[in-house]
């Protein structure tokens, strides 16, 4: 199935890394270019995108669709005070995305694919539940966010491995996958089943064709990494090096999309509930965000929704 809009899922292992701030900033920049832009807050349970786009009391939200109060996903969209910027809010959701039943997830994925917008940004929240992974895999353009802290890096590596793993998992039925896990266990010892690179090796040995297919599939992905909250003493080359490690040791290509400097004004803007980009346009951070939007939302490429049968 083809996606109508360009979809950028934004994920990161850890809460507080700046996913929502980046989602709202990229959304504002995209809307500012005249693109009809939709933000979807899928960080259910910890939703706050509405606050970042100055819409404290959204009238409708995502769970209205899940609870069938609103039959069509497009009708849960609310306008924001920013021209061209729209939101499907996750406010008032006591639903956890991890607990979204399978059919509901598929229904949502398909509904997102049919939404008529130029750009869609998904704020996925933290964690590596299957549902989060599947939403991340909705398009080829997933963006990983991390900060230069070991905790955040640890979580983003875990997320990247989980995504990889999930994609491999999609290609097999339960029995075959179980057999693969056992083989990995035997070949690489315990713990190998949590390492997609080992699983891939086993797939290569047992199902060379599927292996080539998955490899091909991953070559089509345009994953990106953003390093947020970089302070002045941090290693500016960190993001590039992380991507290098992932390519070298996982065989996954992730493009480094850029650093976003740390700035206390972000806090100030959020507290004042104003747009950081408008209030502090001359900070390095604002410049970084504009650069980022050039390499992210302003690049176009082929994109397809992964087929869920």
């Amino acid at each position: 199935m083809e996606l109508m809009a360009y979809v950028w899922p934004i994920g990161g292992g850890k809460g507080g890394s700046g996913k929502s701030f980046l989602t709202s900033s990229l959304g504002r920049l995209s809307a500012g270019l005249g693109k009809k832009t939709l933000l979807i807050d899928l960080d259910l349970g910890a939703a706050n995108l509405h606050t970042l786009v100055d819409l404290p009391y959204p009238t409708k939200c995502f769970s209205d669709f899940i609870r069938k109060k609103i039959p069509r996903l497009e009708d849960t969209v609310v306008e924001t005070p920013v021209e061209n910027l729209y939101l499907i809010s996750g406010a008032h959701d006591n639903l956890d995305i991890a607990n979204l039943p399978y059919e509901q997830k598929i229904k949502t994925l398909k509904a997102i694919a049919r939404l008529d917008y130029d750009h869609i940004l998904l704020d996925l929240g933290a964690g590596t539940s299957f549902n989060t992974l599947d939403f991340f895999l909705i398009s080829h353009n997933g963006i990983f966010v991390t900060t230069p802290e070991p905790t955040s890096i640890e979580n983003v590596y875990r997320l990247i491995r989980s995504i990889y793993f999930r994609r491999i998992r999609h290609c097999f039925n339960v029995t075959d996958f179980k057999a693969l896990e056992e083989a990995a266990d035997e070949l690489y010892g315990r713990g190998a089943v949590n390492r997609p690179e080992c699983m891939m090796e086993v797939v290569r040995l047992k199902y060379p064709e599927t292996h080539a297919q998955i490899q091909d599939d991953f070559n089509g992905f345009r994953f990106k990494l953003v390093l947020n909250q970089l302070r002045r003493h941090d290693n500016a080359g960190l993001g590039q090096q992380i991507c290098r490690i992932i390519e070298k040791h996982l065989g996954l290509r992730i493009e480094f999309a850029g650093n976003v400097a740390y700035d206390d004004h972000v806090h100030d803007a959020i507290c004042a509930r104003v747009s950081f980009l408008e209030r502090y346009p001359y900070t390095r951070t604002a410049g970084d965000l504009r650069e980022l939007s050039k390499s992210v939302v302003q690049t176009a490429g082929e994109q397809m929704l992964i087929n869920y049968s």
């Binding site: 890096i153 390492r195 690179e197 390519e247 065989g251 502090y280 001359y282 410049g287």
Partner: protein
């Protein structure tokens, strides 16, 4: 350039990579590049490294570091490297006409190194200025003022540790004009069309963004001020 057979560095097995792949260098790398690559690799894989934090088990990390050490010691030693290259050729990994000898003779690598050392100071200076601007909230604050006067520009320049002479040198703007810009002395300054270009060049030299906008605000403030004096 020497060609590496299609083998991609994937699927986790670091030990299966050849030494060039381990260090991320081309087979015709010169010793300078090898040392640099080695330092990079250590920085990425050493136990305290943030880059690879949590990515490897302790055991894997030790193994990788041992491989890197071996790769480095082999490749920086001319004789051992020759032997290793011969082995790669035998294994079909490296094409027979090992190009390194050619590369050694070619002036290309020396040229590219000397060229980069000429370019570096300029790039470095720009990067340094940008870094300083990022670290100095005062500059950001000035840049956002609606009324920008000469003293504001001077404050930015001094905060960045740049002299007027340096600006004059690079922009070719006369020093007395630069002084008048900072003193907001309209009477000693050229016509607005020229002046605005000067202010922009001045800001560009300091890497202060956005030059267009700030110079517009400077011009506006200057004209208000001179009108005030006139009346």
């Amino acid at each position: 350039m020497a060609d590496m057979e299609g083998k991609r560095a994937v699927q986790g097995k670091f030990a299966d990579l050849n030494y060039y792949e381990m260090l991320d260098i081309r087979p015709d790398a010169v010793p300078f590049e090898i040392r640099h690559a080695y330092q990079n690799a250590i920085q990425m894989y050493e136990p305290g490294s943030l880059v690879s934090y949590s990515f490897f088990s302790e055991h894997e990390r030790k193994e990788i570091l041992a491989h890197i050490e071996k790769a480095y010691l082999t490749l920086v030693n001319g004789k051992e490297r020759q032997g290793y290259d011969a082995e790669l050729v035998r294994r079909g990994v490296l094409k027979g006409d090992v190009c390194r000898e050619k590369a050694d003779k070619k002036p290309v690598s020396i040229f590219s190194i000397s060229r980069s050392s000429v370019l570096q100071p300029v790039c470095q200076k720009k990067a340094e200025l940008k870094a300083r601007i990022a670290q100095c909230p005062r500059i950001g604050a000035i840049a956002q003022k609606t009324d920008i006067c000469g003293a504001d520009l001077q404050e930015i320049r001094e905060a960045l540790g740049v002299t007027l002479e340096q600006i004059a040198d690079e922009t070719k703007i006369r020093l007395d004009y630069l002084r008048a810009i900072e003193a907001s002395e309209a009477s000693r300054l050229p016509a607005p069309v020229f002046l605005k270009g000067f202010v922009k060049a001045y800001l560009k030299h300091l890497c202060v963004d956005p030059g267009e906008e700030i110079s517009t605000r400077y011009m506006a403030a200057l004209s208000v001020q001179s009108e005030g004096k006139a009346s």
